[in-house]
Amino acid sequence: MKNLVTDYWLLATGYWLLTLPILAPLLQYFISGLTNGAVYALIALGFGIIYNATTIINFAQGEMVMLGALCAISIYHLIPSLPIAFLGGVIIVSLVGLLFERLALRPVQDPAPITLIIITVGGAVFIKGVAMLIWGKEAYPLPAFSGDAPLHLGPATILPQNLWVLGLTVVLVLALEAFFRRTLVGKAMRATAYNPRAARLVGIAAGRMVQLSFGLSAALGAGAGILIAPLTLGVYDMGTMLGLKGFSAAIIGGLGSLLGGVLGGLLLGLAESFTSGLISSGYRDAVAFLLLLVVLFLRPQGLVGGRQ
């Protein structure tokens, strides 16, 4: 009996505290931080998958996010169906990722990691240029997946689209986890990442696994882009900053680890949002790089330790 009363008072006090002018905005910052964080997490996972398979950083990852958003928007213009636009965008960008590996990275005769990384940087610039030629410099809208009506969560408001971002991210992360742990292809990819020579000896086509990792990362990036396009619009240059922040998130959490990518992304999103709200909005973009520097100085393997 006494526990119930205490619980009730605790709950009431908590709700009252939340509605205080000081604390009420905090919930809002929390929600927007989680949403952005989920997007960074998806991008970070993309970096992690390619790093695991090839030990290189694919700096074209950010452009996959942009391509996903813009392709979905263009498909939506032709066929006004959001599921088709989503799937179409993901499929097209996955193909771009697969092609990118095949045409830009596989033919390299002396595949030192630094060479390949610089090629991905060049690839990123190329893709951005092509996007500018196709879509121009304008921003394009994509309708929200289930409407614009804000939902009230105490003193804060959340859009259905925020819920979509969070929900789909959870689904994708769980699906990735299942893929890598339960399916044969997933296990083959992990095997190739641990020891490419041994994997080849047991009959795994290592080259195919590398290509697959690019396709998978591109798909994740595209998914992230289509999820936030209703909130942030699709523009040809949205990939650069998102890619860099996703990379920071991957390093912060621990490059190559699934949990690390998710943690790093969420942490970055929340840090950005709270800094923007509590200190100054001018520092928003600096947070990602500041955190990156701090992590590199103090704990370079990232929060979760990353891959061995």
């Binding site: 921003a139 614009d148 942030t232 240059d237 900053m241």
Partner: protein, 382 residues
């Protein structure tokens, strides 16, 4: 033999020179500096298009008093240094008679240093009042774009009329936003306004909910957003998401169909000052600007297959004004300047210009009308 050859050569030379100078078909060379690419390309591209359109039209009619108009247009890419280099080039290499542009304020401020010293007329298409003020330091500088000073005055007039006394301002961190913020703060006491909250966002920001959450906690009766591009549309969407009940007032930088497209449902009810071009169909037939706006809109759409923009209108007005002046002044730069200064009652897309020695912009706050977005269209409300 040699002597005959030399004589023939000299004769030919004299003939050629004689044909060259004093000929009626000597072109008038006008320079243009616009931000055709880069972050301000939504200004520079329509401005370049409009200037070329006017020149083509007048050349098709035989030029100005028989002299064809030759345009040399450079792209400053939104970069102040490049703008200055282009100005030097137009001055020394191309020997332009006058320059139209640049598109943005920082570039205009540096280019006018070059043109003032060289005594070359400059008609800028940028917003800041400081481009043509103080008048005694801007003898050779004019501008056709309405100033941010006028936009703020119109907004505050509207607020006064509708009982809004406390406002929160959300401005972009670029030069446009900084200049706007200066005006918003400076003119507030004059209209009895109190600025109860000020926040800043960056050009490329995609989430303004932190700034708006802070402003939601202030006693503001309206939010004034000062920016261009996609960000102001995102501000509108964020405000709807956060459940704001107070009105959103945008700057004239949002007065384009693209803004309505990007803001979608969140655009409903947004108010802003705009040049008459966006609502020219709703003007009364007795308004002299209606015909000019219609002509510009129809010609621009027919030629470039995209919607007309008020920004292109600045260059359209500048080139037409210059053509009118060239017809009277010829290629004498001092006369061109004097005629520009004496322009009275010039009906343009951006307003009706009445230049004077003290005012090289020639517009009043009435060059702006207040419009509201209703059902996805701009409607005239003041």
């Amino acid at each position: 033999m040699k002597k005959i050859g030399l004589t023939l050569f000299l004769a030919g030379l004299a003939l050629a020179l004689g044909c060259g100078s004093g000929s009626k078909s000597e072109p008038y060379l006008i320079g243009g500096i616009f931000s055709i690419t880069g972050p301000a390309s939504y200004l520079g591209e329509p401005e370049r298009n409009s200037m070329e359109m006017v020149a083509e039209e007048i050349n098709a009619k035989g030029g100005i008093n028989g002299h064809p108009l030759k345009l040399v247009i450079y792209d400053d890419e939104g970069d102040v240094t490049k703008a200055r280099l282009h100005a030097e080039k137009l001055l020394q290499k191309d020997k332009a008679l006058a320059i139209i542009g640049p598109s943005i304020t920082p570039a205009s401020m540096t280019v006018l240093e070059v043109t003032q010293k060289a005594k070359m007329p400059l008609i800028s298409c940028a917003a800041a009042a400081g481009i043509t003020a103080p008048a005694k330091d801007r003898f050779w500088t004019f501008k056709t774009a309405q100033t941010d000073e006028m936009a703020v005055a119109r907004i505050y007039q509207y607020c006064q009329k509708h009982g809004i006394a406390k406002v929160a301002i959300l401005t972009v961190s670029s030069a446009f936003g900084v200049a706007g913020k200066v005006q918003l703060l400076a003119q507030a006491p004059k209209f009895g306004m109190e600025v109860v909250g000020q926040e800043v966002f960056a050009d490329k920001d995609t989430d303004m909910t932190p700034q708006l959450t802070k402003l939601r906690g202030t006693p503001a009766q309206a939010v004034i957003c000062w920016g261009v591009g996609p960000a102001p549309a995102l501000v509108a969407k964020n405000m709807k998401q956060l459940g704001f009940t107070i009105p959103l007032i945008q700057s004239h930088g949002a007065a384009s169909k693209k803004f309505i497209e990007l803001a979608a449902e969140a655009g409903e009810g947004i108010i802003m000052p705009a040049g008459k071009l966006v609502i020219y169909t709703q003007l009364s037939d007795s308004d002299p600007q209606k015909a000019v706006c219609r002509e510009y809109a129809e010609k621009y759409k027919a030629k470039f297959k995209v919607a007309e923009s008020s920004f292109g209108g600045y260059a359209y007005d500048a080139e037409r004004m210059l053509n009118q002046v060239l017809a009277k002044a010829g290629n004498d730069q001092a006369k061109i300047r004097a005629e520009l200064e004496g322009t009275k009652n010039f009906v343009g897309v951006s307003g009706v210009f009445n230049m004077s020695p003290e005012d090289h912009n020639g517009l009043t706050p009435e060059a702006f009308v207040m419009v509201k977005i209703h059902n996805g269209e701009f409607t005239l409300i003041d």
